[in-house]
């Protein structure tokens, strides 16, 4: 377009075909979002009109205002935020410490413990939900924030990822600091943690996404609609007027959009984070 612009890559025939193909596939991937958005902007009666049509004939925000008036959704949003922030910070702290501990320090029974933690990779609330519930029930934490938060705070996978990373840091850095008389904890927080920032970011991002979207465990452990998180509330608490698709779609968008918006702005970090955590399993 502009002559001053740096030379752009050429539109070779293969590039044109690939781009067209990419566009077509993207449309398929995005169409459900568009359908949800348009549905949320229809009246409830128009939403269930037969046959369906894409664009609202009468654009209305009634589903969105109704959503906020009934009040639950804002509660759930706050709950989701509280739970995800708490889980992410606890996981970061605890798994960074543990990853470092396993990678760099010596103590009795380390290898046995490491093996046990690795075996923990096979356990999830999906596999052992019922016994986990009874455990939390024994602790009196059913229907509490802690009951939702703490069981999400022991992810063996994150420890493993950070363990792998800390193993890769040259030992000499810490050794020199020790010789200078720095304490273990100071070395950890002033030397090791700053070096690990990208890995910690990856773990943090992944944990936040997983926790924000977590359904199964909050579903098991919360019954009080006041305490539910977004995914749980949307699925189990009904509007007293029955299924209202426009409102349901509006609520779904509200639960899903924050992460998608964050993704648009922090795409590089998130992609690196997800790829990093995923690839660590190799």
């Amino acid at each position: 377009m502009s002559m001053a612009a740096p030379p752009r890559k050429a539109w070779t025939p293969s590039q044109i075909i690939l781009t067209l193909l990419g566009t077509a596939v993207s449309v398929v991937f995005l169409a459900p979002f568009a359908w949800a958005l348009f549905t949320s902007l229809k009246s409830e009666t128009e939403a269930v009109a037969v046959p369906p049509h894409w664009l609202p004939q009468d654009w209305t925000g009634q589903a969105w205002t109704a959503l906020f008036e009934t009040g639950n959704i804002t509660n759930w949003f706050v709950n989701s935020l509280v739970v995800s922030v708490c889980v992410t910070s606890v996981v970061l702290l605890v798994s960074a410490l543990a990853g470092y501990g396993f990678a760099r320090t010596e103590f009795r029974g380390k290898s046995v413990l490491m093996a046990v933690v690795m075996a923990g990779l096979m356990i999830s609330p999906a596999v052992l939900g019922v016994p986990l519930f009874t455990t939390v029930q024994q602790m009196g934490m059913v229907d509490t924030y802690w009951g939702m938060i703490l069981p999400q705070c022991a992810p063996a996978a994150m420890v493993y990822i950070l363990y792998k990373f800390f193993q890769g840091i040259p030992r000499e850095l810490e050794e020199a600091a020790f010789i200078d008389g720095a304490g273990r904890w100071r070395v950890f927080f002033t030397i090791v943690v700053p070096l690990a920032r990208p890995s910690l970011a990856a773990v943090g991002i992944f944990t936040f996404i997983a926790s924000w979207n977590n359904f199964l465990w909050p579903y098991m452990v919360t019954n009080n609609p006041d305490l539910m998180t977004m995914p749980n509330g949307i699925a189990t608490v009904m509007n007293s007027y029955g299924i209202q698709w426009a409102q349901l779609m509006a609520g779904g968008l509200m639960a899903g959009l924050p992460l998608i918006i964050v993704f648009v702005f922090f795409q590089r970090q998130i992609v690196a984070g997800v790829a990093h955590t995923g690839l660590a399993g190799q």
Binding site: N72, V82, V85, T236, V237, S240, G242
Partner: protein, 452 residues
């Protein structure tokens, strides 16, 4: 170090730190934003399973209550009906986080461990708010009494009905002089009616919708027709299965025939049946809770109990009841509020009757306002011909029995299994269940007695 970038970073770090601290603080408070914001002196948490027309009526009744009792804040929550509701109610009670008031189906009370998951009603307190035993059908009231204590306060009786479009049936010549559907007394007559009705039906609409792929409705319909045939489930001691597979086959073949003869379209089994009815399909079998839906659609319709095709009247019936989910420290203002709220709703059931339900509080039935309701007056006789599930711990709305046997009935209706095989399968499921121990007390149905 005064670079703006660093300042921004510090700001972000501070904000992040505050956010994290705030989250932990909020989690430590542990009550949720709504309860924090509430400043009413008494807060009654009330869980129900009413959606659709029932939900709207319940909200209207709650609003009336709120107006009359401004000191009590009612926090009502509607949970998805069926499994999620009973799961959440049981788990909340087991975890000692139960709401102050809940709603259940009568049939589920026996298996819901009264005394452990449910607290008994304070009958004197109820009397103070105007609810007395004498105002209820004694049989219904006693279904909620276990070991001499009242655990379930009945709100209504609800039944399965045959809804019909008067405009379509009139065209088909199926309306009597009183403007009501001609009486049907046998299966052949019923299919003749369907055949005539089909001729008067618009293209693209099925003749009858009866939730043919829904495991709950199919089970309820089965119970109704099996009862019409005089079929039984277990002997009085609950020790032996008396299920009659021949009678069951008769019922299953009857249900199946709606599809094989093309009166019901397999694609319009669920909610679509009601939508088709609104659009002009002549029949739909639905619960009485569909009355407000059809009223608001402004169609000309009537409703009768399920046709007595096997010679004897009987239609499936259940009952909603108020319960007090177990709280270790039950008592005090919230508990009184729960009693007051339940009593208020039971006594002001006129609005509830608009939802098609037959109010349990009998003084309501004799009011002129109730007798004017249509089609409620057309099917009120269903009260006297109730077909209910057997009285065992595993029965009740969406209970284990319905979950195990319902899908089996559907497989016959939808044609993926032969009625004979399905009847045998039902019998074997019943045998298994009878031998199963109630997880709440470790006793089988026979050991625990069948008393409800």
């Amino acid at each position: 170090m005064g670079r703006p970038g660093l300042n921004r970073r510090q700001l972000l770090a501070t904000l992040g730190g505050l956010g994290v601290a705030g989250s932990f603080g909020f989690a430590a408070l542990g009550t949720g934003a709504d309860a924090l914001a509430s400043n009413a002196r008494t807060r009654v948490r009330y869980w129900n399973l009413f959606s659709g027309g029932d939900g709207a009526n319940m909200i209207a009744m709650l609003d009336a209550f709120r107006k009359a009792n401004p000191a009590i804040e009612v926090k009502d929550s509607t949970l998805q009906w069926g499994n999620p509701f009973y799961t959440k109610l049981a788990m909340a009670a087991a975890g000692n986080r139960a709401p102050d008031l809940g709603v259940m189906h009568m049939g589920r009370v026996t298996g819901f461990s009264p005394g452990r998951l449910l607290d008994a009603w304070d009958v004197d307190l109820l009397a103070k708010y105007g609810v007395h035993k004498r105002d209820f059908n004694p049989q219904l009231w006693n279904r909620g009494v276990i070991d001499g204590k009242l655990y379930a306060l009945p709100l209504d009786v609800h039944v399965q009905l045959c809804f019909y479009r008067k405009d379509v049936l009139k065209k088909a010549g199926l309306l009597g002089d009183d403007g009501r559907i001609v009486p049907v007394t046998s299966a052949d007559e019923w299919f003749d009616v369907l055949k005539e009705a089909r001729k008067a039906t618009k293209k693209g609409l099925q003749t009858i919708g009866f939730w043919h792929n829904d495991q709950n409705f199919q089970w309820w319909f089965f119970v109704a027709f099996y009862t019409q045939l005089g079929g039984t489930w277990f002997d009085a001691a609950g020790a032996e299965v008396t299920f009659d597979t021949d009678k069951a086959v008769q019922v299953l073949e009857f249900l199946r025939r709606h599809l094989t003869d093309g009166y019901a379209n397999p694609g319009f089994g669920g909610q679509a049946g009601a939508e088709q009815f609104v659009n002009g399909a002549p029949f739909v079998w639905e619960g009485n809770w569909s009355v407000p839906v059809f009223d608001s659609a402004k169609i000309d319709y009537g409703a009768v109990p399920l046709p007595p095709v096997f010679g004897r009247q009987a239609t499936h019936a259940e009952s909603h009841a108020f319960v007090l989910p177990h709280q270790a420290d039950r008592g005090g203002a919230a508990n009184e509020g729960a009693h007051r709220l339940a009593a208020h709703i039971v006594r002001h059931a006129q609005q509830w009757a608009a939802g098609g339900h037959i109010p349990a509080y009998t003084p309501t039935l004799s009011t002129p306002a109730y007798q004017k309701l249509n089609p409620q007056s057309e099917y009120v006789s269903a009260m006297d011909h109730q077909a209910t599930e057997p009285k065992v711990w595993f029965a009740g709305s969406t209970g284990i029995l319905a979950q195990r046997v319902g899908p089996v009935v559907v497989s016959s209706t939808m044609g993926s299994a032969r009625p004979e095989a399905v009847a045998r399968r039902m019998r074997s499921e019943l045998t298994t269940l009878l031998a199963m121990k109630n997880p709440m007390d470790g006793r089988t149905a026979a050991q625990g007695g069948t008393a409800a």
